[in-house]
Symmetry: C2
């Protein structure tokens, strides 16, 4: 391959300057002419009938322009199973339920108006655990489904069941077994940018949503459906996003507050802004899906994995968002991490009166990997193998097919494991372990965990595609119209690198046009670690179309064949003379010559790239991604046996990324992911009591801060994926996937306790230590 | 042709609602974060050396962020001959010359700072008429040209000379002759929207101009050149326009104030807004080019025109903008209005210390047509022919070539003349004229004038092209990316009609993306009446590309040949069953089917349309437009012989527009044009004394108001031009072209005086009447 000018180089993020200097415009900063401010009244009970809502006093408050309830509009059903609605009419099912909303001239008036709304409830018994939800005679949260068909239990009508091989036979033939139950709880996304939206109708009743969504085009469809419910059948819905202050999956669904903004704008004829408080972020946004996971795994006498059986119970909360579909990704590590033939997996989602759940970086994978990798470690212990060797023995290999029918092409898992072990001083540690001073209060331990995740997009929607348009001006400046949403992951930078490289122009000459559904062709959204892969491939495809035109024009002018010409860093030159040779000329010169003549032309191109990904079939099988990302994390921890505090002393994070498009931003993804994984492992948890979030602020929700940062070493493994743009695979999510089991395994290594519940807070570690001591005695 | 759904229908303007309800955002309304306000100090003398500028006091005023003069920057040369600069360094040459500028936190502070700037001048003798400028020993305004070559006179180095046939021979063979001198003066554009700009650099020194230009892409090049002078060689220049409050040619050039805003933004690192006052609009913007025109024409004994000779002297003012190039359009009526073989035309532009001149609707054509048509009327009188018959005899015919090598294809001039005559009751009037009561104080008269103008674009720049991109979403909503600028003429409406018609979608599903050079492909600008023709043809070309793709997809689905399918109003149907027949399906359905599958696609298209127009050669010959617009205006006036007041009682305005794309907006163009022509004829004039504009406000500058509106009847003549979009030709400028001569000819008809100077104010009419009475006696 010829030398690359941008791809593979460390490039600072192109959006960084505006962000650090305060020039970036967030939803907080946005103001529209005549804009009103909306506010939402939430439920007072986790489960209750709404007897009456009296808005009369609120409506009379000066400055209040609208007070609305569900009774003011036709029914609007939203969410994955359409079991939710922007405002709740007859019943509330959780404390985050929206019962009324206000639009006023300023946020303070809106807040005061909320206090004047009187709601009369008839409280109902609540269900706050999935086990209780399944109990006989448990009260029904939803009496019917969206189509009015009666429901007989709190189970969701979603079938998550996967089988491959012969589980029972494998069990009987296995020499070693390990089983356990693992528990993961709610984790909040904690985006530093608050949630908000401005809904605005024009005079033709077309809707513009000034939004922060990760999925502009799916959101467009959701809003368009809601408008139909309002009788607006042909309104254009335009989504415009400005700078998004973090997403991590929290903006992968459309939210009640957004539809409420639409209803308020529709009612008042004015743009209406709703901006969340930090408390609302914790209380009313949907966090990571909790899971109760039962697992058993076995291996033969040589340590080869023989089977894996996983049963999950998921607390869906009161309504169904993407959280309920996380089993579709949990299946990845369960079916396909390490080589194991005989698999059984079932997952059951049940309604409770808790907060409902959403997508969160990894989309179920951190939960499942915690379960699989903790238990695998236990199995290695059972057979008495070194956990590293055990993993290397069973590691995925290139050019294999997994039980879920994933076709593994590039795979650097073994290399990741080896490099992590090397970075930790694994061998040394194993030798020294015996010499651990038994009477020390602080004990060191080392742990490993691997991961697999989609790395080439994921066909979770009927299209996994990405449209792109490019337009060159007379100065050689390129506009790239892309539906890709930058949520802080650095896609803007990498996409500019890929485009500049693929077309052969200077990176500073590439501008992205983004975040506007009127301007940018369709994209399924920023999720599933797909943007670098998908938009990158779209850029290569579109650029090559454009380049062909350019070289054709240049060849006509220079009188040679296009194949003899090269375009690099905005210079066109003959292959025989090179970029500095005679006859080399700036791209702009060719463009002007092509343009400034009778019947001239200007250079544009458009393309749509949809990867060869398959949808999961009914048996949860199918190659949903044409490339697979692997990685391994390893940690050295020190456990304080007096306080239960787990300190990470060394954190090695190796990822098979196919190709490092930008080692600098890639490292950023790994740092960020590891930190999020670390928080998930050790401190982050939304604490609910009777459906109420108790820790709804940063002083109570223990997000790791900069001072908690352990020494993280990102290790980049390049395997040059055949389908990836310049060989790259997705890496957006992987960073947070294997952290928790790696740490849990290190804790085991240090003090011999297997932490089965996340987060591993000092209290829980201490309790487990005491339990162990009691048992040991 | 099949029935059309949108083209040819009366459609209200799609931008009207926002404009009348105050939702439209003008430059006045625009605010950028951290924005400063700029203000300009103009010269105190029409011609003087700048000895010294002391900015120290101004700079100390709290709130002032920058005070700049030409001495703070490298030289920046701007304008058509590069004889102008944003700030003047050594010399001022007119009272509108910019000598210093200020940026401050608010406009009031900026204005106060201007008062604190002390400029020391050495006054020089001024030249205030073109004749004086040509006098021997006249002081030189410019000692050198832009390249530093010495200039020896005040004549511009621009050659305007046209010859065809044998003038002298034709003169000698002619039986009748008429000659005269005509005088047209400065007319101000009087846009209701004030001029303004916000210049803003990003942190990479890329420039965004929030602008009101008619020529975003030419302006982009101008600004980029200025940035190069500042040492910024690869900065991207982005032009973004919001609603433009009128243009009429005033925004066809880049202006000193815009470059000053750039310099202030460059100096302060902040966005800087400069917004003109109404006084600045009159004082510092460049008005219509005045002209002193000498003409003689002749005909044979049958009334057939034999020759036309025109000599012009143009007061260029102190610097050169587009005004100096108006002879390139004056040549149209001079060479090609009516059939006449032997032509001579010269025009000389000279520097004076007056205000410099710009493009204005018609671009020299109103001046030239006033001269040609007034004199032609005189010639008809000489030979004793009815002016209508004389014109009909000599009128242009389809499929002819004029001495300027214009290839006239469609031509409805005769029909226009006949319809105007009919609308006026011409024949009746001719009969009754004899019975005019001689002793009446108020005398009625009827006059006619014809016009020719480019109707299919005009290659005045090396490209007359227009790039376009289209993108369809899953809902069948279309985004059209167009460089066309809406300056109030209604292009947005017509372009949506054309697109909807050509593609076969509902008009409300078409949205235009406009006014942003980053988003919209290149267009040479909104001028030369070209947008409906050029962007319309681009839309047809682009839509047909898109339609081909759509019908191909639909044919695959329906299993038929694409030719058997039709797309109309967003429904696809088989030609055999019709739009309501079985199997007809909404476009959106096809689009979704094409998109939502593996390896799916979305529909986009791009195109560049450049008409087969030629550039004028050195002899001022060439078919600069592939279609030619014709028209004729006729008026009935009443002249009050006691006050000199001319009242228009009946105004018939017939235009050969090829095809009326939208009769409603077309009538708007004719009304507006006629009113502007009426003002030009009767009341509008910028009064200068020693270079100073004396009437710089609407109370003194006599713009006709709604109460001055005569009964104007637009008459649409359709000739279905072969090159035009759906047969249409340009009509943006024609409306104002023949007004003045039609009225002048009517005044002659009424009272026997030939008004040779515009405007025909009551004072001038009265003076001429008295002169005539004196001569008659």
């Amino acid at each position: 391959m010829t030398e690359l000018n941008y791809v593979g180089h460390e490039m600072p993020r192109t959006d960084a300057r505006d962000k650090v200097t305060g020039r970036a415009v967030y939803i907080n900063d946005q103001v529209r002419p005549g804009m009103l401010h909306g506010a939402i009244l939430y439920a007072k009970h986790p489960h209750a009938r709404i007897k009456n809502i009296d808005c009369s006093r609120a409506g009379k408050l000066p400055g209040v322009k609208a007070v609305i309830t569900a009774r003011d509009f036709p029914p609007i059903n939203i969410g994955f199973l359409k079991d939710n609605s922007p405002l709740k009419k007859d019943k509330v099912r959780s404390l985050r339920d929206e019962v009324a909303a206000v639009a006023a001239t300023d946020p303070e008036t809106a807040a005061r108006a909320l206090e004047l709304i009187e709601v009369e409830y008839e409280p109902l018994p609540g269900i706050f655990s999935p086990e209780d939800a399944l109990a006989q005679n448990a009260p029904l949260l939803h009496e019917t489904d969206a189509k009015g068909r009666p429901l007989e239990s709190n189970k969701l009508r979603l079938k998550w069941r996967f089988e491959s091989g012969d589980l029972e036979k494998a069990k009987s033939l296995s020499s070693h077994h390990a089983s356990g139950e693992y528990n993961a709880t709610w984790q909040s996304h904690c985006c530093l940018g608050l949630s908000g939206v401005i809904a605005e109708f024009d005079q033709q009743k077309n809707l513009t949503m000034h939004s922060i969504t990760q999925i502009p085009y799916l959101a467009q469809a959701d809003y368009a459906n809601a408008l139909k419910d309002l009788g607006l059948h042909n309104s254009r819905v335009r989504i415009k996003c400005q700078t998004i202050g973090g997403a991590f999956g929290s903006k992968l669904d459309t939210h009640c507050y957004e539809f409420i903004a639409i209803l308020l704008a529709f009612s008042t004829g004015k743009p209406v802004k709703i901006l969340f408080s930090r408390e609302e972020e914790f209380q009313a946004l949907a966090p990571r899906q909790p899971a109760i996971m039962k697992i058993s795994q076995g291996c033969d006498e040589n340590g080869r994995l023989t089977y894996r059986e996983v049963k999950m119970l998921l607390d869906n909360g009161a309504y169904t968002s993407w959280g309920a579909t996380t089993p579709s990704v949990m299946i990845s590590p369960i079916s396909s991490l390490y080589q194991v033939e005989n698999i059984s997996f079932t997952a059951e989602c049940v309604y409770t009166n808790n907060i409902y759940c959403q997508a969160f970086r990894g989309y179920g994978n951190p939960q499942a990997t915690f379960c699989v990798e903790s238990n695998l470690d236990q199995l290695a212990h059972e057979i008495g193998m070194d956990p590293l060797e055990f993993r290397l023995l069973n590691a995925n290999r290139p050019d294999t097919t997994t039980p879920a029918q994933y076709r593994i092409t590039s795979c650097g898992l073994s290399e990741c494991l080896k490099k992590v072990a090397q970075g930790l001083g694994w061998e040394e540690h194993q030798k020294q372990k015996a010499s651990n001073p038994a009477d020390s209060k602080k004990l060191k331990g080392m742990g490993l965990a691997s991961m697999i995740h989609v790395g080439g997009g994921a066909r979770v929607y009927r299209s996994d595609g990405h449209g792109m348009m490019m337009k060159l001006d007379d100065f050689g400046k390129l506009s790239v119209f892309t539906g890709a949403v930058e949520i802080g992951q650095g896609n803007e930078t990498v996409l500019r690198q890929i485009t500049a490289e693929a077309l052969g122009v200077k990176m500073e000459d590439v501008v992205l046009v983004t975040h506007d559904t009127d301007l940018c062709p369709w994209d399924v959204g920023t999720h599933a670690s797909r943007q670098a892969f998908i938009s990158g491939n779209a850029a290569i495809k579109c650029a090559s179309k454009l380049k062909r035109k350019i070289l054709g024009l240049a060849a006509d002018l220079i009188e040679c064949r296009p194949e003899e010409l090269r375009l690099q860093k905005s210079m066109i030159y003959h292959v025989s003379t090179g970029p500095l040779g005679q006859g080399a000329m700036p791209l702009a010169k060719i463009l002007k010559k092509a343009h400034f003549k009778s019947q001239g032309q200007m250079l544009m191109a458009e393309t749509f790239y949809d990867p060869p990904n398959e949808m999961l079939d009914r048996e949860m099988k199918g190659n949903i991604s044409c490339a697979w990302a692997f990685g391994a994390h390893g940690v050295l921890v020190e456990v304080d046996t007096e306080t239960g505090q787990v300190e990470v002393l060394n954190y090695q994070a190796a990822h098979d990324v196919g190709r490092a498009l930008n080692p600098l931003t890639l490292a950023g993804q790994v740092y960020g992911g590891s930190m999020q994984g670390l928080g998930y492992a050790l401190s982050e948890e939304l604490i609910l009591k009777n459906g109420r979030v108790l820790n709804d602020r940063f002083s109570d929700y223990m997000l790791p801060t900069a001072k908690d940062l352990p020494p993280i070493t990102p290790i980049i493994v390049e395997t040059f994926d055949p389908q990836g743009p310049f060989g790259a695979k997705g890496v957006g999510e992987p960073g947070c996937v294997p952290s928790a089991p790696a740490i849990a395994n290190a804790v085991f290594d240090a003090v011999g306790i297997r932490m089965s519940r996340l987060p591993m807070t000092p209290e829980r570690v201490l309790k487990a230590l005491r339990q162990k001591n009691k048992e040991d005695k």
